[in-house]
């Protein structure tokens, strides 16, 4: 089971949980002793008719025990928090690092909001799992056992009742637990679905409004929210039923013990102080089990999240991204960024969900400084080729070669010094315009940033923004038009100063004036450099020295 291996991987977490359980056990032990003392004091007052001063020493001892118990409870809470804090950080970092390694191609079938809720709330729900469920589960076995032995010493007959009801409750818990398991799983999936739905609604709210359909959006929000509520209630109903059974069985057993003891008291088989102690200890036998029934739900939620995280961690890594530090050393000795050839050698790629290959036997060589246009109808394999060139995925067949060396042998950080990318739909990140231009070069000087903006003919419009280069840019790119976004993306690539640039339909949004400017600026920049342009428009193709035509995943024209 996953949770167990999870704990095995994190000995520190295990240690803190162990300490928390130990403290819990200690607190339970104190409570048992305190309860027996309490019965003793009542016996002293009631049967032995002692005065207050007679019982005072015991009362003071009991107060001291309480203080000790409070200390245990406080420390136990702290150590389980330490455990869950460690685990949460570790699991989140590991899963995110893995997602990055899986990359955009591998994640294309996943939903952003679902991943977000798994990595956010999902991992946070490990908190309850680790800090509450795990200790409760351990204590639910140990404490009843301890109480059972204590009662056995005080009054063996009563243990018969406990012997009968205790295991029954554990069995009950296990049976119902297996029933709620699938329900909890479903609810967790529902949560992911719900997140995706709301994100979709939020991002599309303006569109809904434009079509005058916002009211229907509100109705859908209601439906979806209700459905989620029902899925949660399904889980909770079962959890409450478990509690009901536990509660009922525990109180019934307590009542049975009370009645049984009272009859034996009347017959004089049992002394009052023992009887009272047993009566008061009996609820403590059931208390940890009842607590476990309450925490069970939290535990299963954490479990569902863990299963989803395990699933994500099983996705194959497709990129070769830098997720660990210390990989900076160059494997090819790229001291200067020289490139003589970029070659594709019989490259083939087939998507997992598809039968026919997206690329087949694609071979061509691009010499240094060439501008090559890749054209072809949609579905021809242009974007697959782009993903391979960016190393978002690796070819099934053949190789991409740099200066005659396989690209796989290069460190990912070297690859980024070779190729930069102007995507069709660039994403921007919270930060200033300057920070977004300097995305790949966070240490770039203001001069370099301005220079990059000039190259992309973006300087004019950036300076017209409220705060110029320091204007904050949201994830949606503020109010930038398509052309402006595109030019920012060009500036972002220009600052990288790489020997190869991959442009994905980059002139699609530019007006003729700007397009001419950009093409001019780019060709100036591309002097002695290599550009691969995935293009539709004649203007770009015109400036290309070579045109490679793709169709049905094969090069049909322009192959060397």
């Amino acid at each position: 089971m996953w949770p167990r291996s999870l704990l095995a991987e994190h000995p520190q977490v295990r240690r803190w949980i162990g300490i928390s359980i130990l403290l819990g056990l200690f607190a339970a032990g104190i409570l048992v002793a305190w309860t027996i003392l309490l019965a003793g004091v009542i016996n002293d007052g009631f049967i032995k008719e002692q005065t207050l001063s007679g019982v005072l020493p015991t009362l003071i001892l009991m107060a001291a025990l309480l203080l000790l118990r409070a200390l245990c409870i406080w420390l136990a809470e702290n150590s389980s928090q330490l455990a869950s804090g460690l685990l949460r950080r570790k699991v989140r970092s590991d899963s995110l690092a893995h997602l990055i390694a899986v990359g955009p191609a591998g994640l294309s079938a996943e939903r952003t909001a679902e991943l977000t809720s798994t990595l956010g709330q999902g991992i946070d729900s490990l908190d309850a799992y680790v800090s509450r469920f795990l200790p409760s589960a351990a204590l639910a076995v140990m404490v009843p056992a301890g109480v059972f032995v204590t009662i056995g010493i005080l009054d063996p007959w009563t243990t018969l009742i406990l012997l009968f009801t205790g295991p029954m409750l554990i069995l009950l818990l296990a049976v119902i637990g297996s029933r709620t398991r699938s329900l909890t799983q479903r609810r967790f999936e529902e949560l992911g679905w719900l997140s995706s739905f709301y994100l979709d609604m939020i991002q599309g709210l303006a569109t809904l409004k434009a079509f005058g359909r916002a009211e229907e959006g509100a109705e859908m929000v209601e439906q979806v929210s209700r459905r989620y509520g029902e899925a949660t209630m399904d889980v909770l109903r079962t959890a409450f039923q478990t509690s009901l059974m536990m509660e009922w069985a525990a109180t019934a057993a307590t009542a049975l013990v009370a009645v049984q003891i009272s009859f034996r008291l009347i017959r004089g088989d049992l002394s009052f102080d023992l009887a009272l102690a047993v009566l008061m200890l009996t609820p403590e036998f059931f208390a940890p089990l009842r607590r476990l029934a309450i925490e069970y739900h939290a535990g299963q939620e954490g479990n569902a999240a863990l299963e989803r995280i395990t699933e994500l961690n099983a996705l194959p890594a497709q990129t070769r991204s830098v997720t660990t530090k210390g990989q900076e050393s160059s494997s090819l000795g790229f001291s200067s960024l020289e490139l003589s050839t970029l070659e594709l050698n019989t490259v083939g790629f087939t998507y997992a969900e598809s039968e026919s290959p997206a690329l087949e036997q694609v071979s061509f060589v691009i010499e240094q400084g060439q501008t090559v246009a890749l054209i072809g109808p949609s579905g021809a394999g242009k974007s697959t080729l782009a993903k391979l060139l960016m190393q978002f995925m690796q070819p099934d067949q053949g190789q991409i070669l740099i200066n005659g060396q396989p690209a796989q042998n290069l460190q990912p950080s070297d690859w980024r010094r070779i190729i930069s990318w102007v995507p069709q739909q660039p994403a921007f990140f919270a930060g200033t315009v300057a920070q977004n231009i300097a995305l790949g070069r966070p240490d770039a000087s203001i001069e370099q940033i301005h220079q990059a903006a000039r190259v992309a003919s973006a300087q004019e419009f950036i300076e017209a923004l409220p705060d110029g280069f320091n204007t904050l840019l949201g994830e949606n790119g503020l109010r930038l038009s398509g052309g402006q976004r595109q030019r920012l993306a060009i500036a972002r690539a220009a600052i990288m100063d790489t020997p190869v640039v991959l442009l994905d339909e980059f002139t699609a949004h530019l007006d003729e004036d700007t397009e001419a400017q950009v093409v001019a600026a780019m060709s100036a920049l591309m002097q002695d450099r290599t550009a691969v342009v995935i293009a539709h428009r004649a203007a770009t193709i015109a400036s290309a020295q070579r045109v490679i035509t793709l169709d049905g995943g094969r090069v049909i024209q322009g192959q060397l």
């Binding site: 002293d44 804090g85 955009p104 994640l107 979709d200 929000v221 009901l244 009370a258 398509g482």
Partner: protein, 560 residues
Amino acid sequence: MSSTRRVIRSVGGYRWWVAVTALLSFVTLGAGIGLLAMSAFLISKSALVDTTITLALIILGVRVFATTRAVSRYAERYVGHLGTFRILTRIRIWFFRGIEPHAPAVLMQHRSGDLLTRILADIDTLQDLYLRVLVPPVAAALAVGLGCILLAGFSPWLGIALFVFVCLCGVVIPLSMHRLTLSSSASLVQEQANLNATLVEGITGIADLIAFGREDLLLGRSEHITAAQQPARKQLAQARGIAAGLTALLVGLAALTVLGFGVSLLRDGSLEGVYLAILPLVVIATFEAVGPLSAAYEHLGRSRAAATRLVELVDTPASVVKPSASEKLTLSRNTSAGHTMVDLTVTDLSFRYAEGEPLILQQASVQIPAGSFAVITGPSGSGKSTLCNLLLRFWEYSQGSIQLNECELNRLGLDEARSVVALVAQHDHLFDTTLRDNLLLGDSRAEDERLLEACDAVCLGDWVRALPAGLDERAGENGNRLSGGERQRVMIARALLTEAPILILDEATEHLDEEMQLDVLRGILKWRSGLTTIMITHEAPNISGIDLRLQCSKGTLREI
């Protein structure tokens, strides 16, 4: 008015339900008090070998209390959660309706992951407000009343002693902890939103991050946020530990105090020995009601922070002023050949997005008669898209006028204004559902045949028919399963279905190659013959039938 109260009042309907839940909770707690008191009384009576008829009655009482307790706990939880989920759904609808007027003007300033957190996690947090903040004090007040009255029946001093301890535990601890942890709770809620925003942004832009070697924007930032949550979580755990420890301590001390009192009352002769055991047990049972109060502070803090985040967004001043009922005009609709004819007249329109920002539109004037095909060209940033935003009433204009059939646009109802103008813009959203559902947004009553006709008009019909699932094919997140060109054409088909008197295509065909662009345009014009179509583009298409050519530059429009 505090934000929690504001949210509660806005959705209403909670009072009866809080009352019912609290009452059921009180029955549970009362039965607990009764059960322990009865059991103790039973044992004590038996110790005196008192075999009167009362013993059978007491045994019956024990059984009744045991069953009542189990059943009422189940009912309390069931009713409580069911009601909460209903209320949460109402809050979601209230929130959705509340933010709807703010799309896109205000919402675009927020990261979508943050908005997602508000509608999902923040509203879920409010669940605790009802179940763990509002209900427990009511139930506890009733149960404490019962416990104190029971003890006061033996001696007023016993009742007072219990009351003092209860106040310490149920009022002083929660209030001081609330004050202590308020900022931690608030920061935790905020950090959760930051985390989700980072995750949504980073996962959406994962390709860009990897391509530019900035995985740290996702990995590093979320590690940073997780670490930043740590002190707040620690402080909360600390407070939780202290509260739990102190509560356990106070329960015990209260029991000891009452017992000590009882012993001295016994010696005075003002208490019968048989009742002594009842005293500490009633105290312990009463405190069962007080325990949850010491945790309520944490939930109150979080609920407050969550509610504040909801209210803050809903209460943002609306970006567009709705006309009051008396000022509201209705558009005069002239129909010709089954079409609604709307003349568009813009006069001296000036606009800036915010104070201090440059004017985007400067006294722009244009007249577009009904049924014409107008093409507006101009460099990016010249104000073309801003004009669309004003026509769709996403932003308010105050200088100049926009008239539809001589009726001022801002005196029309928002829905009516939007039913006249349809827009296809680059940032439009495709929903993560089937193609059919996306198309139905244009006309909810359209049959499949009609939808396919609209697709045919944009040269997409054959593609849709060839899809394995046809119209049931999913579009993916924001249409990411479609190519750029397919996405744009689906959006155009959707807008065609509205048959709106005015359709604006804002750079809507830029992803298509020239031949396709002309075919699509011909299809659009044929579909919309007799209706106004305005095309905003960088480059006027080489097509016949353009009635009006306009040039947009630096915020002004002029006919060419």
